[in-house]
Amino acid sequence: MTEIVAAILAGLDELQRGGAIPSDFAVSQAGEDTLLASIGLDSLSRMTLLGQLEDRFDTLVPESHVAGVRTIGDLARVTLDSCRRSA
């Protein structure tokens, strides 16, 4: 779980450097409870972030698991669940 959260934060950092996240959001302050809505990610950036996680952890998160995701912790959990299922 910690490894996945770290990967999400690294992905957010990369997106911010690419200009996809407003510069006033402090990635270093973000954690499991951070709401994705508060980050200012657009829908394509969210998909890009999820795609990066899937590549990194060699899994695929089904859409039915994505709909309820609200926080960074939720995103990490659905990724972890998918890893367990595909293991």
Binding site: S43, L60, V61, P62, E63, S64, V66, A67, S86
Partner: protein
């Protein structure tokens, strides 16, 4: 322009459950699945491995010196079947062709890029064969049709919009008859990988392919992609062709969602209003009231989001009639074949009107919570049918189309 109906006199389905009217009809009403392990697996082996593939005509790898794109081969087979089925004699100079295709000839585009990358020359015919209008040109040539000719590309609704164009041509007197349909060969890496990244495809049923497309079921997890073609012969309503007609196309409408954001899997929130409006406008175009709708052919694509969305749309549109009007989805057996699906829905509607029976929606073992529609589940259901309304949801919920079909009274 009058709101006259057009006769449907010929049908040519080329699908995963059968090619030709008889084979398609038998499989459709028996609830036979056309889904199986695909020859190409999406997304580096981790994604959807199920597809609706067509055996007739058989798949053949592209020969790069004389490339025949899959969508063109499928379309030619379907258009010829429809033309033969209609048995129309006489002047072909006022017979038009409209083809709907979402991706056109992506297989040839991909193969050409690969060939160039490998340092090979591409054939002089590649450009002509690769453009989306190629299928329409080949059909007009093969059948020697001299009327108006065009191609419509509007994603998954291409086939529906093609039918709308053909209906307009007949109403306006631009054509006496139109060979109209959809063709799609979307089983290509660029499409499959993109749809997987967008979380659009079913990934959890790879070991049980026939159960992968589950319209309105709680365990659905995405579309099952497919290939195919389907064509109709549409004709001006004249008395001597009425006994040949299987049904009539009575009305059409499409609507845009206006300004909206790209589809967001985390928080989709499109309005149901444009879809409801498209359905109501198609009925108005057909001169029908809601009380005259006897069944609905749903988009029902097994999409996690859009099946719930469509349930709300149809409930909203049908209102107090929701408990009376049965609903079904052919995609449970046929998958999501892009431009082709609306035309396969048209063929299913014609056959339903003719038989007085609706095809089943398979795999809906556990309908959505608080499901407010009368879904025809598991097996075909006899019904008294005069008019059927068909619904199509366009890519990403940006646009919607609806078509109304009715029985033809013999003269």
């Amino acid at each position: 322009m009058s709101n006259a109906a057009a006769l449907i006199t010929g049908m040519g389905p080329v699908s995963a459950i059968g090619t030709g009217r008889a084979a398609f009809e038998d499989a459709l009403f028996a609830g036979q699945s056309g889904l199986r392990r695909a020859r190409l697996t999406a997304f580096r082996g981790r994604g959807c491995a199920v597809a609706a593939e067509v055996d007739d005509p058989p798949f053949a790898p592209l020969q790069m010196q004389d490339p025949r794109p899959r969508a063109v081969e499928l379309a030619l087979r379907a258009a010829k079947l429809a033309w033969d089925d209609a048995g129309r004699d006489g002047d072909r100079s006022k017979v038009g062709v409209v083809v709907g295709t979402g991706l056109g000839n992506l297989d040839l585009v991909e193969a050409s890029v690969r060939a160039i990358h490998d340092g090979a020359r591409v054939s002089p015919v590649t450009a002509f064969r690769a453009f989306a209008h190629n299928a329409a040109c080949e059909i007009a040539s093969a059948l020697d049709l001299g009327g108006p000719l065009t191609t419509v590309s509007s994603g998954c609704n291409s086939g529906a919009d093609a039918l709308g164009v053909a209906l307009d041509w007949i109403r306006l007197g631009r054509a006496d008859a139109v060979v109209v349909g959809g063709t799609e060969a979307e089983l290509c890496p660029a499409f499959l990988d993109s749809m997987t990244a967008a979380r659009g495809l079913a990934t959890r049923w790879n070991d049980e392919p026939t159960r992968a497309s589950r319209p309105f079921d709680t365990r659905r997890d995405g579309n099952v992609p497919g290939e195919g073609a389907a064509f109709l012969v549409l004709e001006r309503d004249v008395p001597h062709r009425r006994d040949v007609a299987v049904a009539a196309l009575r009305g059409f409408a499409n609507r845009s969602s206006g300004r909206r954001q790209a589809y967001d899997a985390f928080a989709p929130s499109p309005s149901t209003a444009p879809a409801v409006e498209a359905l109501r406008a198609a009925l108005a175009d057909a001169g029908l009231g809601i009380e005259q709708v006897d069944a609905v052919s749903a988009n029902g694509s097994s999409s996690v989001f859009y099946d719930s969305f469509e349930e709300q749309v149809l409930r909203g549109m049908l209102g107090e009639h929701a408990s009376r009007v049965p609903v079904h989805s052919i995609k449970s057996m046929l998958g999501q074949t892009g431009a082709v699906t609306p035309v396969l829905q048209a063929i299913a509607a014609c056959l339903s009107l003719q038989r007085g029976c609706l095809p089943p929606t398979t795999n809906c073992d556990d309908p959505l919570p608080a499901f407010g529609l009368d879904l025809v589940r598991d097996r075909a259901r006899p019904a008294s049918l005069r008019n059927i309304l068909a619904h199509s949801i366009g890519f990403g919920g940006f646009y919607f189309a609806a078509l109304a079909y009715g029985r033809v009274e013999a003269t």
